[in-house]
Amino acid sequence: MPGMNSGLNDDNATLVAAFRAALLHQGIYVLLIFAILAVAWVSAREWLRPARQARPAAPEPAWRELLRIGFGVIWIFDGLLQAQPDMPAGLPSQVIEPTAASSPTWVQHVVNWAGTTWSYHPIQASAAAVWIQIGIGVWLIAAPRGIWSRLGGLASVAWGLVVWVFGEAFGGIFAPGLTWLFGAPGAALFYCAAGALIALPERAWRTPRLGRAVLSAMGLFFAGMAVLQAWPGRGFWQGTVHGKQGTLTGMVGSMATTPQPAVFAHWVAAFASFTAAHGFAVNLFAVIALAAIGAGLLSAGLPEAGLPAPPLWLIRATVIAMIAACLADWVLIEDFGFFGGLGTDPNSMIPLSLVVVAGYLALTPGRAVATAPEAEPAVNPPAVPADVTAAEPATAAAAEPARRRWHDQPARLARAFGGASTRVVIVVWAAAIVVVGAAPMALAQANHNAAPIIAQAIDGNAAPLDFKAAAFTLTDQNGKQVSLASLRGKVVLLTFLDPVCTNDCPQIAQEFRGADQVLGASSRHVELVAIVANPLYHSLAYTRAFDAQERMTSVPNWLYLTGSLAQLQRVWKDYAIAAQILPAGGMIAHSDVAYVIDASGYTRTELNFDPGPGTASSESSFSVELTQAAEQTLRSS
């Protein structure tokens, strides 16, 4: 009803239930795939007696294992966070778009596009984020070596970039107020960096140059962040400014208000108070710490410039200091990053620490090899030709001659699969998890119209009806008499609109217009009919003005009907429409409803049609809901 606020809450029960149902369905598929893979693998091993793959000569270095397992766990954790019930409705409006709000317009355009895309198919998008991230996590953990392991790294890079650009608005690097303290340059960028390191070929694993490069790059990063933190005029040097919170105080204070366990909120609030009182000292400490850590890490790269290497203890001390600083920041400033019901990851400090520690471990690859556990079998795709993995240790499968005939391939594949390790089976399963999440989203994206679940979330489900529609004869926008009987043979989508309404009615008209477009060729069997719902402004001049405003004049099957007040009141009564004159200054309060009348004049469906927040996705969703109701009635006519 116009005059009533109607938005879509984050915890909308319909959306939450649909999200849970989608996760449950996809979870069942994931388990089924696992079961099928397991049965197939066990069967292949038992019946085909394949040759077991040879074990590789060298183990995975410690730095890579740390990155792979560390980021694998983080991806799984992020995936579980994405399963929080508020994600479908809340992520675009509460996370994605606000993140970009202070960035330049072009960033906002990019991010808002993603937010709109998400909001058109909130269930599929939310579920996709869950399964893709869990899949990548499992993939990374399960694949220690070989091409599948490197592909896992690349998957991490690819999805990390998607999250960084669309979810984190490029980590806020184009926004004012950029600071390491709050996670610049975005946690997902470290996921990408880690993924890229994991994807490196084995020949790059065992040289300390890699460790030096990683630590030098991180040293540069810390030094840059120190300069940024020290830069005057950004509000970090003051705890309070003219009685208002300084930049850091405000940031920390806002984190303290996030719903979370009381003890954490207390810590963060206490630190906000401390920052307000000692803003200069806190920032000075941050600048010095960042600069010192930056210098320490940069020193690891000295040998690359022909200078003597710093003592290892110096690097180790720097890394320990960095971990301490990151932990303090993570707890007191970033507030763990994942509370509040819409937290998508534990923010940047843990990933950042993992990358730096990996860089440190890579400085000493020899020790990593020496302390490595029992060598793991290579995780290679079962049917990869030998030349693709030429740089990898040879395996029995890879040694198969390429000249095998094509009809030998299934048996060869089956034998190779049977000969694969448990890890290979889990990696294949992990890739399948990613596909289970991504495929429905990709299919949904192929449809440019929003899912009808949004309309149902706003107004509930359509009510089936079965009674003769009340007759009426009114005047259309062209001055012609139109009766309901004259529309027999067509499905009629009927609604009631106030021509001078300022919010709902224009939206509903656009949703009818959208339904006409979605119907396509079927629209010739459908008549879109609106009847005036204003007892004061109901002249032809006003229906025409409304049509011009809403560009309905170009919709051939659109009728906007009016009549005398007595005629209108009779129709309103027959269709249970309230049209109440509000006190001075208010518009007419009238029912927002749509009826679907079949070709024989029977009312088949009633749709509550309060158009909600009027976003592009909700309007599109209502159009789709109307279309589906019309098509269903057409089929049953």
Binding site: P2, G3, T502, N503, L536, Y537, P583, A584, M587, I588
Partner: protein, 384 residues
């Protein structure tokens, strides 16, 4: 090859740096852009004639950002002492009300569109706002200016639309509309070129002729135009030499008896002043300039005998009793005063609006005294 690489990196860096510096340093020279007209005065206003009723429009309710502001129209019929609510029903008026008096208890009210409404519904009353009939509609958005709508004889209307870019002429209370002029068309006439028209700001009927007020881009010119013989000619007053370097805008244009009353704002830099101008047909009388303190006007009022009242940006109230009179400063206005109302016998009222309460403070020898309180049922939340 490695030597080339060593050279190439700094070279590329230098080029990028040079490009960045060039980009930073190449600020374009300022161009001679036309002067932006100052914002029009708010729609809060009042209109009164010697023998007819007094009308006033004030903004009531709550936050405009939350669509909880509701403009209300009040009338004080001729001979009456109390105001009553007369807002036409059936249309959300969060965008504002613009009124045009046609004399003898007749009024046309235009609703400025808000939210998704893009055209302006109209309503007309001939019985002091007791009953209303839908008029129009105006297919475009009524401009945000107190004199954007003018009512003339036989149901003729002038409406400024699209932010003052166009003027439409309506017949039969807006049942049919034709283009009267536009800012660009007026600017192309010889009279318009002399003014350097930048936008249309007010409309009026005077003696059956159509008149338009404009903001002028050329200093020292008052942009008042009359349509005569199918062409527009300048009708504005010649301004004194002291205003020769100041840009002048017509803020209000009101029929006063058989003549015309205009309120002009002259500004040069941070300095601005108001000048009232009265035309008896053949000549103009100008008031002394009233410095405004450089802040936008809050309200205008037109009263019987060509009286003028204004509330300045700093909250001061000033009145002029008619042609040739001097500006008269009012005592400090009561809290929440939205506009002044000038009545017969030099009566001055301060009309205050706060939430759903409308108060009429009357000026007497002892200062302001509360004459009336009207509680209005505000339809909070109905437009959101």
């Amino acid at each position: 090859m490695s030597g080339i690489r060593r050279l190439a990196a700094p070279a590329v860096g230098a080029l990028l740096a040079a490009g960045a510096i060039a980009g930073c340093g190449s600020t374009p020279a300022p161009s001679a852009a036309p002067r932006a007209a100052p914002p029009p005065p708010p729609l809060a206003t009042s209109v009164a004639s010697t023998a007819g009723p007094s009308w006033t429009v004030v903004e009531m309710g709550g936050s405009a950002a939350q669509e909880n502001n509701f403009w209300q129209l009040f009338v004080r019929p001729a001979g009456a002492t109390a105001w009553r609510l007369a807002t036409p029903l059936g249309v959300a008026d969060n965008g504002g009300l613009v009124i045009a008096s046609a004399g003898s208890g007749s009024l046309v009210t235009g609703f400025r569109p808000s939210q998704l409404l893009t055209y302006s519904p109209l309503a007309a009353s001939t019985d002091d706002g007791t009953s209303w009939s839908p008029a129009g509609p105006l297919s475009a958005s009524l401009a945000d200016a107190p004199d954007a709508l003018a009512a003339g004889p036989d149901g003729a209307l002038i409406a400024l639309t699209d932010g003052g870019a166009r003027a439409e002429l309506g017949q039969r209370l807006g049942a049919a509309w034709t283009r009267l002029s536009s800012a660009s068309a007026l600017a192309a006439t010889s009279a318009g070129r002399a003014c350097g028209v930048t936008g249309l700001t007010a409309a009026a009927f005077s003696g059956g002729t159509t008149m338009l007020g404009a903001a002028c881009g050329r200093p020292g010119v008052a942009g008042i135009f009359v349509r005569s013989g199918g062409t527009w000619r300048a009708a504005g007053p010649a301004l004194p030499a002291a205003l020769g370097r100041e840009d002048v805008d017509v803020l209000a244009l009101t029929t006063a008896g058989t003549g015309l009353e205009a309120l002009l704002q002259a500004e040069a830099g941070a300095h601005s002043s108001l000048i009232a101008a009265w035309s008896s047909g053949a000549s103009w009388t100008l008031s002394a300039p009233l410095p405004t303190g450089g802040r936008p006007l809050r309200s205008t009022a037109a009263g019987p005998g060509a009286a003028v009242g204004v509330i300045l940006g700093d909250g001061r109230g000033e009145t002029l009793s008619g042609p040739g009179a001097a500006w008269h400063a009012l005592p400090a206005l009561p809290k929440w005063t939205a506009t002044l109302a000038l009545g017969p016998a030099a009566r001055v009222d301060a009309l205050a609006a706060d939430g759903g309460t409308f108060k009429d403070w009357q000026l007497g020898a002892a200062g302001w005294s509360l004459a009336q309180t009207v509680h209005v049922n505000i339809p909070y939340g109905s437009s959101s």
